[in-house]
């Protein structure tokens, strides 16, 4: 049924093209229903709590500027983090790529486990998913237990994450119950969400109390103090951070923030954007090792794995500002149709469409920048104001450049079209104009497929052979932005009341 991920890691190097993968998902009615339901619920919750803050736009502005500032001084902040974390009793490691990061974590885990049974408990971490850490641990004879409910569902169901915040959002309660009944040997398990959560609590409790080594990701690294911050809901994170003897945290180098006080911005925008809560149930902040409270050994692995390649592209680097809230996924009309697996990467949706190909040096996942209708909804909701549509278009031009580098057969018209595509979207105004043009032009290009969905072939006439399989979901007839502008206008006409 649909796209099976059975035991297969999401690897952009081997994944099918988005448009091919997406087509097979579109036949999976259950999956589409689950994804649509979950994303609609989160979007509504988000809209409500974002609406409560009159200074939301100022917070976004501050968040975006803060992230941009951090990237500008990234080397200094990383060194400052390292010095402060070390002074507080932590041990900092550096990893150039995924292989090196896996090797470090496996070695540290082995050292800490000693003669104990070879097990670690894990907090949900997209970074460990990115590098395929669980498979590496297993190969080394270490059993990793995912402790986040959604990650547990994924792990027990031999599935793959489809969303960066709610990784099992493509499964409904009946499917989850079936997995738990089978894997936890609970034939009589009830099917309310409460029954399922209770089952997870008892299944993991014993592991929290027993397993002496934990592996985590990080939401933020604080340069000023050497502290680490993790945001979570269930308390599984706190269990992993406080009960084991050894804690190994792995974080991308992009996770650093300059000062402790900067969290006053990020801890406002992240929970409201991610789960639609004013504050998620638990945020933990700790600095190195604290005698009498928490692990005795604390390691941080700072990982590059392609991030410096992203930083080197001045039009792509704002991708690194991302704080992994998932709001762009929930808002994206393409993601809402296809779910996450079609993106062939643990980073799905709009953020995945810009992050994954760049982390792959544009050598893989090059269909992803086309997995978008450029409607702008992702930009509207991004809490750090990443202009995802602009980056998408920029990456399309990089894909085209790569594809045509060896070819000397372009007509003048094609060369011109590509040049235009490359520069068109660098400004907000030009982007809007181009969006309108695209929508007008699409009448000619769009055709209905069997399910009544509108699809368009991109870059008509341009490198036809290469683009013919790269169909795109059609642009909605009206973008949010247009609708919003119309609405504001009609409000004014209505007499400017309130």
């Amino acid at each position: 049924m649909g796209l099976s991920t059975d035991g297969q890691a999401l690897d952009p190097r081997t994944a099918p093209e988005f448009q091919t993968a997406a087509r097979s998902v579109l036949n999976d009615a259950q999956l589409r229903k689950n994804v649509r339901h979950a994303t609609t619920v989160i979007q509504n919750k988000r809209a409500k709590v974002v609406g409560e803050l009159p200074d939301w736009q100022e917070l976004r502005e501050a968040g975006g500027a803060l992230r941009e500032h951090t990237m500008k001084f990234l080397d200094a902040y990383l060194e400052q983090f390292e010095a402060n974390c070390t002074r507080a009793g932590g041990v900092v490691h550096w990893a150039r790529d995924a292989a090196e990061a896996r090797e470090i974590v496996v070695r540290l885990a082995k050292e800490s486990i000693g003669d104990a049974p070879s097990e670690v408990i894990k907090i949900k971490s997209m970074t460990t998913e990115e590098i395929g850490l669980n498979a590496a641990l297993q190969e080394a004879g270490i059993t990793p237990y995912e402790t986040d409910l959604a990650e547990l569902i994924i792990q027990l169901g031999k599935d793959q994450p489809s969303h960066i915040v709610v990784p099992a959002l493509h499964k409904n309660r009946a499917q989850i119950r079936e997995i738990f009944q089978r894997e936890m040997h609970l034939p009589h398990l009830g099917e309310t969400p409460q029954d399922l959560a209770d089952a997870a609590r008892s299944f993991l409790r014993e592991k929290f109390l027993r397993v002496p080594t934990a592996v985590s990701g990080a939401n933020f690294l604080v340069a000023e103090t050497g502290g680490v911050c993790i945001v979570e809901s269930e308390g599984n994170g706190r269990m992993c951070l406080t009960l084991p003897r050894t804690l190994i945290t792995i974080a991308g180098i992009d996770k650093v923030v300059p000062r402790f006080a900067d969290l006053e911005v990020l801890l406002q925008v992240l929970p409201r954007s991610a789960t639609g809560e004013r504050m998620n149930p638990y945020n933990s902040i700790w600095t190195g090792v604290h005698p009498g409270d928490g692990p005795e050994q604390f390691h941080v692995v700072l990982m590059d794995n392609g991030r410096t390649d992203v930083l080197a592209d001045e039009h792509g680097r704002e991708t690194l500002h991302c704080i992994r809230c998932g709001a762009c996924q929930n808002a994206c009309p393409v993601y809402r149709q296809t779910g996450g697996h079609a993106y062939g990467s643990v980073y799905a949706g709009p953020i995945g469409a810009i992050l994954t190909p760049q982390l792959q040096k544009m050598e893989h996942a090059e269909s992803l920048p086309y997995a978008s209708s450029l409607c702008g909804a992702c930009y509207e909701v991004c809490p750090v104001k990443i202009n995802i549509p602009e980056v998408l278009v920029h990456l399309r031009s990089r894909v085209v450049e790569r594809k045509t580098a060896g070819l000397r057969v372009l007509t003048n018209a094609e060369a011109l079209a590509m040049k235009t595509a490359g520069s068109l979207f660098r400004s907000e105004r030009r982007f809007r104009a181009a969006q309108r043009l695209a929508r007008m032009g699409q009448g000619v290009l769009a055709r209905k497929d069997g399910s009544g969905e509108k699809w368009i072939s991109w870059l008509p006439g341009l490198l036809g052979g290469w683009t013919q399989v790269r169909d795109l979901h059609a642009l909605p007839d009206e973008t949010f932005r247009q609708w919003w502008e119309e609405r504001e206008k009609s409000k004014k006409h209505a007499g400017g009341a309130a």
Binding site: I42, A76, L78, N172, A197, R278, S284
Partner: protein, 217 residues
Amino acid sequence: MSANARTAVLERVRAAKGGAAELAKAASAWGLLPRAYHRDGDLQRTAMLERFIDRLHDYDAHVEFCDDAGLAGAIARALYACGAKRVLVPVGLDVGCPEELERVEDAALRVSELDRVDAVVTRCTVAIAETGTLVLQTVPGQGRRAATLVPDIHVCIVRERDVVMTVPEAFNRLALTTTLPTTFVSGPSATADIEMTRIKGVHGPRTLYVVLEAEAG
């Protein structure tokens, strides 16, 4: 090996940005970052406390009220209401628990022993009205982090003067203790991983009681 990786990653960062950054320059640039968001709340004291209570209820926390003379009674009411029998008391907590209940001092208890108490009573450093958040730190009276995590019931005493309106105000109060282990608690443990339904209680305390202590006089 690791030293090489360190040099390599930092060099790549510098090459990507076109040069090395200096911390002093970073500091002055940081000072110029836009911060037009609200720092202070705009509500009067009573309205702010009402907001706090409203937010706590919204996240399924229970609230008891008292003045300092009535504190012991309010804690007892909370503990009886949730049927606690063995109560963990962190080092340095200045209030007692009812005599009929078994009081367990946290003298570096093993985790398995923490797992055998029903409830824990603590204070907190600061609370945020806008988000219904309690901020706990590893100081006397608030316990180490495991003490407020493993027991299934958490009773937290919040002095009215420790309630602030906004998240930035709370960070101001934390400015001198930034390296202490710090936990923001907003409601009982919860998950929305199953069909986005918020379910109370996965691994942390499934019951959270806030005892709001009024100013003396």
